[in-house]
Amino acid sequence: MMTDKLPRPNQPKSLLRFSAPQLFYPLAGRLAPWFASAAVVLAAVGLYIGFFVAPTDFQQGEVYRVIFIHVPAAWMSMFVYLVMAFWAAVGLVMNTRMSFMMAKALAPTGAMFCFVALWTGALWGKPTWGAYWVWDARLTSQLLLMFLYLGFMALTAAIEDPRRSDRAGALIALVGAVNVPIIYFSVKWWNTLHQGASVSLTNAPTMASTMLAGMLVMAFAAWAYTIAVTLWRVRSLILERERHTEWVGHELDLQEGRA
């Protein structure tokens, strides 16, 4: 039958149905604890490998153990920004409400990881380079990322009208995304004090396999954490934005009964 082949956007089985806030809200609530538990387990395993399995670095001694949070945090800070930019673009093109809420929910966690990358980098830089901070390409572009996150959060919070707030935020997210490849490739493009990538898609990693394992497990922990916190945060955003709807009314009644 011809009609069976036609795409049906409102097909109840399609994953796209979760772009409706009303359906995404309970899904987020159900998924978040699983990701949070995964984050706890992964972080425990990662820290165990990082502190008790990975050997002392032959050049840097023990201080290199900062790597197990520094690199995952730096990766997450860049990745989260790209995901934010992706949702902003989807929101602008498809005009979907959930996309902008996702972008907003991601920003604080991205900013947190960005700060962690800068902070741990400073504490690692002092004993290895002799300076907490240098104005080189990698560090400066990462600092710019921090300001982009803060700018996004300040701007979206300052504009009352949700539609205008969303659009202004999306603009920062998209324009700022250009900075992410600059951060990533800065160690190749410019002469910098920061060491090059120890892990890349094209070359074999230049580090002990247990060090690499610890770092990757911690990176997965950071992913799981980010997903859990973002889902929790977006639930509050959904309630705010959808407060005029009937289903939020029911949800509030439910919450009140529980309190």
Partner: protein
């Protein structure tokens, strides 16, 4: 990898300040973020419940909103 003692572990080859300073601040920020997310959830639910009570069941919530903020 075996540390000679817990003392050696906490000392981190003399880099204790840098290593533990990194881990401590990260743990602190994660804790603060989780707390903020919880508070936000609680505040949002409370505020919206208050708004709903102030509004007649079928009334326009938007009109009353500003006064209840």
């Amino acid at each position: 990898m075996a540390w000679e003692s817990w003392g050696a572990f906490w000392n981190m080859g003399g880099a204790a300040l840098f290593v533990w300073g990194s881990y401590f601040v990260t743990a602190l920020l994660v804790g603060v973020e989780l707390m903020l997310v919880r508070h936000r959830r609680r505040d949002t639910v409370r505020r919206l419940i208050r708004l709903r009570k102030a509004a007649p069941p079928r009334g326009d919530v938007r009109v009353i909103e500003e006064s209840v903020q």
